[in-house]
Amino acid sequence: MSKKGTSAFILQRASAVILAPLSIWFLFEIVSALTADYATARAWLSVPLNAALLGAFFIIGALHMRIGLAEIIVDYVHSWAKDVLLFINWLAALGLIAAAAWSIYTIFFAG
C-alpha cells in the first residue's frame, strides 16, 4: 500500500459521497426485495432504475469496503499475514464486482 495513501484517501471520500444517496434508495427498497419470491424479485431487478442503482451500489460499495478493510488490516496485522490478507481483500472486492455485474446483467436482459 505504500505511496497509495492519497489516492486511497480521495477514492474513499468520493465513493462515500456517491454511496450516501445510493444507500437511502437502497434502504427504501431492499427489505421488500430480499423477502420477495423468485418471480417478484426478478421483476424488480428488470426495472432499469433498480438494475442500474443496485449495480452501482455493489460496484462502488466494493471499492469503498476494500479501502476500509485494508485500513483495518494495516492497523492490526504487522506480520507476513498482512500481505496475504490485503490480497484476499482485493480478490473479494473484485469477485463481488464481477458476480454482481454478471448477475444483474443476466437478469436485466433475460427480461
Partner: protein, 132 residues
C-alpha cells in the same frame, strides 16, 4: 515495514488505553459496522447470483432470509448501513475541519446512535409490510 514485529518504531496506544466515551464508541462502531456491511454485501451477492442462476439456489438463499437468522441478519445489516451512513457524514464534516468541539462531537455521536436505531425500526416495520 516487512519486519513489523521486530521494528523499534512506536505504535499508537491501543483501544484499552483510552477512557470510554461515546465518541470512542462511535469510532469503534464505525469500523465494526463497516466489517458487517462487507460481509453483508458478500451474502447479498449470493442472493443476486441465485436470482440469476437458478430458482433452486434462490430458494435455498430465500429459506435463510425467511428464517429467524435471516431476520437478525437483515436488521443487523440495515442498522449497520444507517449507522455507517450517518457516522460517515460526521467524518466528511470533520474532513472540512469542522465539528471537532467536544460538545459537538459528543452530541453528534449520540444523535447517530439514536437516529440509526429509530430509522432501522421504521424501515424494518415498513419493509415487512407494516404500513400496508
Amino acid at each position: 515495514m516487512a519486519d513489523g514485529a521486530a521494528s523499534k518504531r512506536p505504535l499508537s496506544p491501543h483501544l484499552q488505553i483510552w477512557r470510554f466515551t461515546v465518541t470512542l464508541a462511535a469510532s469503534i462502531t464505525h469500523r465494526g459496522t463497516g466489517v458487517v456491511l462487507y460481509g453483508g454485501l458478500l451474502l447479498m451477492a449470493l442472493w443476486v447470483i441465485g436470482l440469476a442462476l437458478s430458482p433452486e439456489l434462490f430458494a435455498a438463499v430465500s429459506a435463510i432470509i425467511h428464517s429467524p437468522l435471516g431476520f437478525i441478519l437483515i436488521v443487523g445489516f440495515v442498522w449497520s448501513l444507517l449507522f455507517h451512513l450517518m457516522n460517515g457524514l460526521r467524518h466528511l464534516y470533520w474532513d472540512y475541519g469542522r465539528g471537532f468541539a467536544m460538545k459537538t462531537a459528543t452530541m453528534t455521536a449520540w444523535l447517530v446512535y439514536i437516529a440509526a436505531t429509530l430509522a432501522t425500526a421504521l424501515i424494518i416495520w415498513a419493509g415487512y409490510g407494516g404500513g400496508a
